[in-house]
Subunit: 479 residues, 2 copies
C-alpha cells in the first residue's frame, strides 16, 4: 500500500538519545524565558513530515501523539501549505476581524464550505471560538442563558432591575437558585475557570484554582474484554445514569446542562457503550437539561466516524457539540435557534475565533474528503486493534484493558510501567502519549496507514521485551 | 506629511447607506448560520487598506475603531503580508505545536526577537495564550497558585491528600479560606467564567452567567477638565485606594491579586492618575497581593508609550502584565520566577498560544520600530487632542469630558446621543466605536496621521452640526 504523501521518510531514525545535545542546548536557552518542565520533545517542525516528527539532533520518530491529538493530516502537508499561501488565507491572517462586529463579506461561505459542511447531523449553526476550553465555556454560557430564559418566560421577557443589579455583584437575584453544569468523574473539558470546574481528571490540573460548586457523576468503569463483562458493564452504566438523574433532581446547585466526552480522553481513555449515551440523551431530554458533547479530542475522524457521537445512533441530536484540536479552530455547533441568547452582545467577544483557522479547517476537510480519510482510519484502526489483541495475548500484563475496538485508531491500553513505557518508546523510534494514570493512548493522524501501524507494533513489542536494557547510560541509547 | 503607506486611499468614500444592498444580502445569508445581531459593518477586508475599512457596496470609511482596537498597523499592511508568506510563518501555521510539550526548536529566538523584545521593564518571562480572556485567566491561575504556595511554606512543600481530594471536589480543604481576584467597578477583563467574574462593565455581559464571589472596588470617577477638579479627583483616588485596602483586609473571600486596566476601556474610557496607580502598587506590595495590569486594550503603542503603565513611573513593576488585541497574540509577562508554579502541568493547555501569531507580533514590532510609531502616535495624539479641545469649546455639550490628554490617540469624550452619533459617523465616512454608556472612543491604528486626524475632525464637526438631517430615509444618505 502506497503512502498518501510521498514526501514522508521510510521509517523512524534515532541517532542520539532524546533530548540530544542540540536539543539540550536549546532547552536550556528556552527555559530562561518559558517554562520547559512539561517539555516532551523539542521539535524541528521544518524537518517533520507526514506521520514523522523530527528534532534538532536529526532524530525522526513516528508520531502517534500528534501534538496531543491535534495534527489532523500530517506535518507539512502540501495541501495545507498551498492553502496557507492563498490570498484569502493571508487576508484573514493579517486583517483579523472582530467577527461579531465586522464579519468578512464571505464569512457565510467560509463557514458553509468548511466548519458547517461537516456539522453534526441536526446542528446547523455555529459559534466560533479559539480553543477547546473556550468552546466549552461559551457553550456553558449558552446553556445558562437558555435555561434562565425559560425560567423568565421566554426571549421577550425583559431583565428586571434586580437581575441586572445582582449580576453586577456576581450574585443571582434573591430567591433564585444558582445553576450548574454536570460533568463526569475523570472527565477533561479544559483548564480555564468554568471549564476547569467541569474537569475532574487529575489533582494537578485543579489544585489551588477556585472552582464552582458543580456536580460530578461517576463515569461507568467498563471492564475488559467487554465480551467477558457484558452484564457487569451494563450494570455500571445503569448505575451511572441513575446517579446522573439523582444529581439532576437533587444537587444543591441544579444542572442546566450535562457535558460528556464520547471517550474520556485525558482522563484515561474511558469508553462507554452507545446504549449509555442514548440513555443519557433520553434522561437529559426528560429533565429539560441540555446535553453538550465535547468532541474536542474525539472529533474530526479519528474514531472512524467524523464525529464520535455518530457511533451512538441517537434518536435526537445533542444540543451542542464542541470541537477544536484536529479542526485547528474551535467552537460549538447547535441547532435550536433559542440557543442564540435573546439579545445581541450576550455571547460575544472581540475575535470570536479566527477566519484564517476556519480556512485551514476547510482545507483539512477537503483533504479528508479527497482521500476518504475517515473510512481509511476506521479500516487501519481495525487492523491495528487486531494486531494489538494478538500482542496482548503474547505478552500478558503489558497491554492491559485494550480498548477502542471499532473506534478507528482511537485505541489505548494500560501498562503498569506506563511512564517508562512512553520514555522508552522514543528509543524505538515512536512518539506516544499517555492519558490518565496508566493508559498508553494511541492518537495517530488520519494519514496513519497499515505500514505505519506495522512500525508502531514492532516498536511496542520492542519496548515490552527489553525492560531490562539500560537506555539512559553507557551509550546503549539508541538501542 | 506623507503617508507611511502609499497604498491608502485619499479619503473616505460613502456610496450607499450602510449596510447597502450587497451587504444586506450577505447579512441575511450569514444570519442563518451565525448570529449577526451585534454586526456593525459587513466588511470587505480584501478592499480595506491602511486606515480605511471597506464594505461590499464600495463604501470606504476611515476606521478609528480598528476591529475593537486590535488592528495595529493598518489593513493589508505590506510588511505583514510579506511576513505571512515566510517559510517560518507557514510552518507555524500548518504544524501547530502543543507548545508546552513540543516547542519548536527556535521558540526561544521567536520569543526573544518578538514578544519579549518589547517586554515591560522588569518582566522577562512570558506565558503565551490565545486571547485577552485567557491571558487574564491564566494570570489569575498563576496568582492563586503563588499565594497558596506561600501559605504552604514554599515550592518544595508537597500537596497533602486532603488538598488533592478537595480539589477534585471543587472545594478548598477544610479550614482554609477561598481566595479571590479584586477588580474595579466598570472594569472589563474578558468574558469567560473567571475573567467575567472580574468584569463589571455592563449587565448584558454578565446576566445569567455564574460568577465567583470576588470583590470590586470603586474606580475613581474623575471630573473633567482635570485642571478644574484637581482636589476633588485626588480625593476620589484616595477614597478608591482606601476601599481597595479595606477589601484586601476585610472581604470575606480575600484577594490574592488586584487586576486593573491602565485606562478602563470597555467600561467607558475611565482614567486615573499615575499617582493613583503608584498608590495601588504600594498598597498591593504592602499586603502581599499581586498586581496584574491588564494591557489588552491599552498596550502596544496607542497611548504614546509601548505599554500604558509606563506613564506611571512605578518604583516596582507590576507582577504580571497581560496583552492581546494589537499584539495579535496574547499572554502574560512576569518577572518573579516563583510565578512559575512549583510543578509542571499546573499551568498548561494543549496549544498555549500560537507560534504563527507570535511571528506576526514580531513583524508588527518590526514596523513599529522602523517607523517609530509609538512616538508618532504620541505626537498625532497631542495634535488630535488639541483640535478636539477646540471643538469641545465650539460645540458645548457635544464633546463632554474630553479625556486622554498626553495619552497618544487613546482619546474619548461623551455625547448625550452617543449611539446615534456612532451611527451617523458612517454617513460622514468614519467608523467609530463607543465604550461605556455614553463615550465615543477613538481607537485609531498606530499609522494614524495628522491628515487622518483632520478628516476625522471634519467628520466629527459634521455629525454634531447636522443632527436635524435625516440619514435613514428619503435618499439623504449618504449626506
Amino acid at each position: 500500500m502506497s503512502s498518501f504523501y510521498e514526501w514522508e521518510p521510510e521509517g523512524p531514525s534515532v541517532k542520539t538519545e532524546i533530548p540530544g545535545p542540540k536539543a539540550k542546548e536549546a532547552i536550556a536557552k528556552l527555559d530562561k524565558v518559558f517554562d520547559t518542565r512539561s517539555l516532551n520533545m523539542l521539535t524541528d517542525f521544518t524537518k517533520s513530515n507526514g506521520n514523522y516528527i523530527a528534532d534538532p539532533d536529526g532524530n525522526v520518530l513516528l508520531d502517534v501523539y500528534a501534538q496531543i491529538a491535534s495534527i489532523p493530516i500530517g506535518y507539512n502537508n502540501p495541501a495545507l501549505h498551498k492553502a496557507a499561501q492563498g490570498d484569502d488565507f493571508i487576508n484573514g491572517l493579517i486583517n483579523r476581524p472582530a467577527l461579531g462586529n465586522f464579519p468578512p463579506h464571505d464569512w457565510a461561505e467560509v463557514l458553509e464550505t468548511g466548519i458547517l459542511k461537516v456539522a453534526p447531523k441536526g446542528l446547523n449553526q455555529v459559534f466560533t471560538a479559539m480553543a477547546g476550553s473556550d468552546a466549552n465555556e461559551t457553550a456553558y454560557k449558552a446553556a445558562f442563558m437558555y435555561r434562565r430564559q425559560q425560567e423568565r418566560g421566554g426571549p421577550n421577557v425583559e431583565f428586571t432591575e434586580a437581575e441586572m443589579e445582582s449580576a453586577m455583584n456576581n450574585e443571582v437575584p434573591k430567591g433564585r437558585k444558582e445553576l450548574s453544569i454536570l460533568s463526569f468523574r475523570t472527565a477533561f473539558h479544559g483548564r480555564l475557570f468554568g471549564s476547569l470546574s467541569t474537569t475532574r481528571s487529575k489533582p494537578i490540573h485543579k489544585l489551588d484554582i477556585p472552582a464552582f460548586d458543580w456536580p460530578q457523576a461517576t463515569f461507568p468503569h467498563l471492564k475488559y474484554p467487554l465480551e467477558a463483562h457484558a452484564e457487569e458493564n451494563a450494570a455500571a452504566e445503569k448505575k451511572s445514569l441513575e446517579e446522573v438523574e439523582h444529581l439532576i433532581l437533587n444537587y444543591r446547585v441544579p444542572p442546566c446542562a450535562v457535558i460528556v466526552e464520547p471517550i474520556q480522553s485525558e482522563g484515561g481513555d474511558n469508553h462507554a457503550s452507545p446504549a449509555f449515551f442514548r440513555g443519557l440523551r433520553e434522561l437529559t431530554r426528560k429533565h429539560n437539561v441540555l446535553l453538550i458533547v465535547d468532541e474536542v479530542q474525539t472529533g474530526v475522524g479519528a474514531t472512524g466516524k467524523f464525529w464520535a457521537h455518530e457511533h451512538w445512533d441517537l434518536p435526537h441530536p445533542p444540543d451542542m457539540v464542541t470541537f477544536s484540536k484536529k479542526a485547528q479552530t474551535a467552537g460549538y455547533y447547535f441547532g435550536n435557534p433559542e440557543l442564540r441568547p435573546n439579545k445581541p452582545y450576550r455571547q460575544f467577544n472581540t475575535w470570536m475565533g479566527d477566519p484564517s483557522r476556519a480556512l485551514l479547517f476547510r482545507a483539512i476537510v477537503g483533504e479528508i474528503e479527497r482521500l476518504d480519510l475517515v473510512n481509511h482510519t476506521a479500516k487501519v484502526g481495525d487492523y491495528l486493534y487486531g494486531k494489538l489483541e494478538a500482542l496482548a495475548k503474547k505478552y500478558p500484563g503489558q497491554f492491559d484493558n485494550l480498548r477502542g475496538k471499532g473506534m478507528g485508531t482511537f485505541i489505548a491500553f494500560d501498562n503498569p510501567r506506563r511512564d517508562e513505557f512512553l520514555k522508552r518508546a522514543k528509543a524505538f523510534g515512536v512518539n506516544i502519549g499517555g492519558s490518565g494514570v496508566s493508559a498508553v493512548r494511541l492518537r495517530p493522524m488520519l494519514i496513519f496507514e497499515q505500514k505505519h501501524a506495522d512500525i508502531l507494533l514492532e516498536a511496542l513489542e520492542g519496548i515490552v521485551t527489553t525492560w531490562d536494557k539500560d537506555l539512559g547510560k553507557g551509550g546503549k541509547w539508541p538501542l
